[in-house]
């Protein structure tokens, strides 16, 4: 009986069924979180959420316009750091270097990718906040930018390697110099993929809270000077979530819904825009 064909077939079917249940369990949290976000968040998202500053405790209403704007400002600053370093580092990995040297650089980038985001907060605190004696938007942007570097570098490399070698050879055969070939032929061909890599990295750091806790710090008002503390959506969600007030909890759910919708939107957009080949690499 134990090794009969029927028993082996049954065992195979049982394994399929069990692994299917595991797959369902893995995506269950997504469904649970998203449904709850819609239920608790949708009722609190309204016009004033996008146009008003946070109200003090006890005053109903108010919004997070400063935090939404602050998040975008921080992302802009982060891009200033992360994009040039990440993209051109990726160019080096794809176009120059030796096999062994690049293996090592790739290795270091992947290890760096695993550094907990809170550590970046501590490092930038020591590097910027202590030196200039103030929490600032610059510090927050720098911390997020550091996180983006290895992400963008590795995906840019993968995207550039998809450009057929014939393009490079054809360009070089015309006597065009190496760097012009890279910039005008290789990078231009892969521009969609590079933009995708940048967008995905931005979507990833847009939800980061830990590196901003003691760099950007948060702010209940508008930030008029980037060397001052600035509000950010994830920070605001965190401080409202751990507060004892029901009103603020509702605001936290609203903020969470807005943040998740923005992040999902970028992720889905990116997957629509890119060709199948690029999408697989990312």
């Amino acid at each position: 009986m134990k090794n009969s064909h029927l028993w082996r077939k049954t065992k195979s079917a049982l394994a399929s069924a069990a692994s299917f249940v595991c797959a369902l369990l893995v995506i269950a949290p997504l469904a649970l979180v998203f449904l709850h976000l819609l239920r608790s968040g949708a009722s609190a998202v309204n016009w004033s959420f996008f146009t008003e500053l946070p109200k003090p405790v006890g005053v109903a209403g108010g919004g997070m316009v400063n935090a939404i704007a602050g998040s975008f400002e921080l992302l802009g600053l982060a891009a200033l750091v992360g994009v040039p370093v990440g993209v051109f580092g990726g160019v080096y990995l794809a176009e120059y270097g030796t096999v062994r040297g690049n293996w090592l650089l790739r290795f270091v980038a992947d290890v760096l990718n695993g550094v907990p985001s809170i550590i970046w907060g501590v490092v930038v605190y020591g590097l910027v906040v202590l030196r200039f004696k103030s929490f600032s938007a610059y510090a927050g942007g720098l911390a997020l930018g550091f996180i983006m570097i290895p992400l963008i570098m590795r995906t840019t490399e993968e995207v550039l390697l998809l450009v057929p070698a014939g393009y490079r050879e054809a360009s070089l055969a015309l006597g065009i110099s190496r760097w012009k070939t890279i910039v005008h032929i290789v990078m231009k061909t892969a521009i969609k993929g590079i933009v995708t890599a940048i967008l995905l990295a931005l979507a990833r750091v847009a939800g980061e809270t830990a590196p901003l806790l003691f760099t950007a710090f948060g702010n209940r008002f508008w930030n008029h000077d980037l060397s001052e503390p600035i509000a950010a959506l994830p920070l605001q969600i965190f401080s409202y979530a751990i507060s004892p007030y029901d009103d603020w909890h509702r605001q936290a759910w609203a903020g969470a819904l807005v943040l998740v919708v923005m992040i999902f939107f970028v992720n889905i957009l990116v997957r629509f825009l890119t060709r199948e080949r690029v999408a697989r690499v990312l």
């Binding site: 993209v87 580092g89 120059y96 590097l127 993968e158 070698a165 809270t209 969600i237 990312l282």
Partner: protein
């Protein structure tokens, strides 16, 4: 998401290097510029190490190795020991791995070996969406949905059945080491699943075909030809997940209870290395306090770097095994 296993690289670069070695000023400048950018990753590793060591030099000098072995955390008396946090990080990550590893690997197996083709891509997309949910939002859900549910249903049930063991005894608050472990598990499910999936996909089809030719069933093919072949890579995926679990901050901070104590019961609140930094950094009023938190950061950086080094080594050498395996 960078791919874990390096894909086959076209051998065109050497031809191009021979055809057009970098020449002229423009080429030189561009090459050195991109090299400098690529070296930034190396510089960043040193920058992190240096900043953390510099920020904690006084604390290291003052507490020495006792810092890692003392369990008093008393900012008022300026007594600092990291043991409760090391314990909390270890236990919560262990719980997370116990929950997440079987689920993720089974899901990866389902997605590469057993599932009908049409269902694979939708599930992969959903897992990518789960990975995109920010930690703070998972924590928000944890506080208001998961904790109340755990407190009212699964926790009393566990206590009734396993209450005689020290791990499931004592009062139930909801916020607890177990809740922290569960939320970390949710955070690392997507990464272990997607890396495991890449690993399984890189197993050469020849392996499967050989087993099918011997008359094996689908599950037998998976077990004998695929899983045993991919063991090393799957271990790498698990260690990578461990690295993420150790450093997970926001969601854990919101559900673990943030109490620096060492209790056998998993229902008791705990504290992790990452969450003590997140919670107390801006409150650190004295120099020693801040220094101690920097040192906690140094410890956390040390163990996550070790975990990631090990994981990447396993994953990258798995890639080369595959290549040599394909040649045979």
């Amino acid at each position: 998401m960078p791919i874990a296993v390096a894909p086959e690289r076209p051998a065109v670069r050497s031809t191009i290097d021979r055809m057009a070695p970098p020449s002229g000023l423009g080429d030189k400048v561009f090459k050195w510029f991109t090299l400098a950018m690529a070296l930034a990753v190396v510089a960043l590793v040193f920058l992190v190490g240096w900043q953390l060591a510099r920020g904690s030099s006084l604390a290291i000098h003052r507490f020495g190795f006792h810092f890692l072995a003392t369990s008093t955390w008393d900012p008022v008396a300026e007594q600092f020991g990291a043991l409760p946090f090391i314990y909390g990080t270890a236990v919560s990550s262990l719980i997370a791995l116990i929950i997440a590893v079987p689920l993720s690997i089974a899901t990866a197996v389902y997605l590469t070996e057993l599932a009908p083709l049409w269902i694979r891509q939708p599930i992969v997309s959903l897992i990518e969406m789960l990975a995109a949910i920010p930690s703070v939002i998972l924590g928000l859900w944890g506080i208001f949905v998961m904790i109340p549910w755990l407190r009212d249903h699964p926790f009393p049930f566990l206590k009734k059945i396993f209450g005689w063991t020290p791990f499931f005894s004592g009062p139930i608050y909801g916020v607890s080491m177990l809740a922290g472990g569960i939320i970390i598990a949710v955070m690392i499910l997507p990464i272990i699943t997607s890396v495991s999936r890449e690993i399984l996909r890189s197993v050469p089809n020849l392996q499967r075909e050989a087993a099918y030719a011997l008359g094996a069933t689908r599950w037998e093919v998976t077990r004998i030809a695929v899983l045993s072949y991919a063991k090393k890579g799957l271990f790498g995926a698990v260690i990578l997940g461990l690295g993420r679990a150790l450093g997970e901050t926001m969601a854990v901070t919101m559900v673990i209870g943030n109490t620096p104590q060492i209790r056998a019961s998993l229902f008791a609140p705990g504290y992790t290395l990452a969450s003590v930094i997140a919670n107390e950094f801006t409150e650190a009023t004295t120099d020693v306090y801040l220094q101690a938190l920097f040192e906690i950061g140094l410890v956390l950086f040390g163990i996550t770097i070790l975990a990631n080094l090990l994981a990447q080594l396993l994953l990258k050498t798995m890639g080369s095994t595959i290549k040599s395996g394909a040649v045979q």
